[in-house]
Amino acid sequence: MNLVASAKIPTRNIDLRLSLSAGETVAVMGPNGAGKSTLLAVLAGLIRPDHGSASLNGKTLYDDGAWLPPHARGIALLAQDALLFPHLSVLENVAFGPRSAGASRSAARQAANRWLQEVDAADLAGHRPSRLSGGQAQRVAVARALAAEPALLLLDEPLAALDISVAPVLRRTLRRVLEGRSAIIVTHDVVDALLLADRVVIIDGGRIVEDGPTRSVLERPRSRFAAGLAGVNLLTGTTAAGGLHTSTGLQLAALTEEDLPPGKDAAAVFSPRAVAVHRLRPTGSPRNVFSVTVTDLEQHGPRTTVRAGHLSAEITTASAADLDLLPGTGMYFSVKSAEVTVYLL
């Protein structure tokens, strides 16, 4: 185990227990005010919990007597805002961690240049932070956090403040640099959880209500919050003209903002609510029609989730009854291409 932590803060209604294997990335999700950011602040050493203990790679972060200050923990925190030091250049910002660790000026600069290259921001080295766009600044902030060579990286909604056109590009960078790294990422976006994390933890009311591999939590949610995110359809494959060619042999049409290069690894995501269920092959505007066999039905009051392998559709319970759905029934799922988002992996 890389990280083992528990924390109780009665005044904030926090009672959490979390562990992390070496090299594992965990997504933390949950409603606003659930305690996600508090968890990160406790681990980073910015908030001291009333009770609990934590250790990272065998080093005690805190327990009932001891408390390690933030600078001695080896835990870097990347926030929603880049928070680049405005009085330092981009290069000096990234060199800040190595310098603080005692590296010489030239060694720190070398490391900074290397990390800037790692996040495709080498050309920004001489700039002042005030001249960067939001996406560029966050890219530099990622390099700065990594340059400190943390044993654990905490990311607090790192993409939330970015333009919708910039976020996917930085998400791809994060996916690359988080590979094999111990990290905890707080996010509201199920796509982040699917693409960046191995495991997802759902926090609600200051407690962990669900914890498991990302796919299974999202496909078989047990908590109400996860059910809200849940059953998101995720198909992986390679890009093809106008969409995705999935590894299971489906052709998926999607509306993409940028032209995606063909033949690249990619994932397509769409909500179960965007999926319509038909008894006969439909001949309408939706360009994605899949012949499926129903494997499972799950009723939540007026809504019913229809599962067919990895795909799921959410329809009203009334129409599920009208369609006479049963496991084993052959059906057609249709989804408009405008509802499908494709991400490069």
Binding site: A44, L83, F96
Partner: protein, 263 residues
Amino acid sequence: MSGSYSGIPRWVLAVAAAGALFLLVPLAAIVLRVDWTRFGALVSSEPSRAALLLSLQTSGTSTALCVLFGVPMAFALARTRFRGQRVVRALVLLPLVLPPVVGGIALLYTFGRQGLLGESLRILGVDIAFSTAAVVLAQTFVALPFLVLSLEGALRTAGTRYEAVAATLGARPTTVLRRVSLPLVGPGIVSGAVLSFARALGEFGATLTFAGSLQGVTRTLPLEIYLQRETDPDAAVALSLVLVAVAVLVVALAHRIHEGTGP
């Protein structure tokens, strides 16, 4: 600013203009009253030069002391929380509203010959009252709150987010202070120091009470002006103009620093 609607009633502007006149007309009165034929001689007389030099030296020294002690005080007030902090803040800022004469008396009964610490200091061979050191102490006493107040405000506005990031990047508290906190509030420190310098330069009441008026030793420019007013009003007016000029210079400098590097 150009063309944007201000929404301020005209009568407010009229009252504001009256207030501005109240501040500016007396300055014009000094300029008009100056005897320009004798100005050079009056300003460069031996006592005047001694007073101006002493004023600049003591104000400079007390400004340095204000920065030395005021910066840590501002950090302690803005960045930490302790029991009775509100009371401490109020007491620290007391010299702002205290009549300077009272400040002088307080200093006299602390560092004076019969004072709280004066006795012990005298045994050590240090005699502060009625010396140049006393002038510096009096000026620091009245000027320190200006620096603390303005820097504490700057620190609160800056927030602690950058410091938190620096700490999680592995920087020790002293490194964070040196490389992040101080550079971020640098303009606040400079403008606080300028305010303190201006206040020290104009110090009169506490200096006269605690340090007396000895030419070349404790008689600063304001004291010299007050003394000359009895014997040679023209010299008092000429020296007043010098003090006004220094003050204008200081304010302009502070303004420039604020405009140039402020957010």
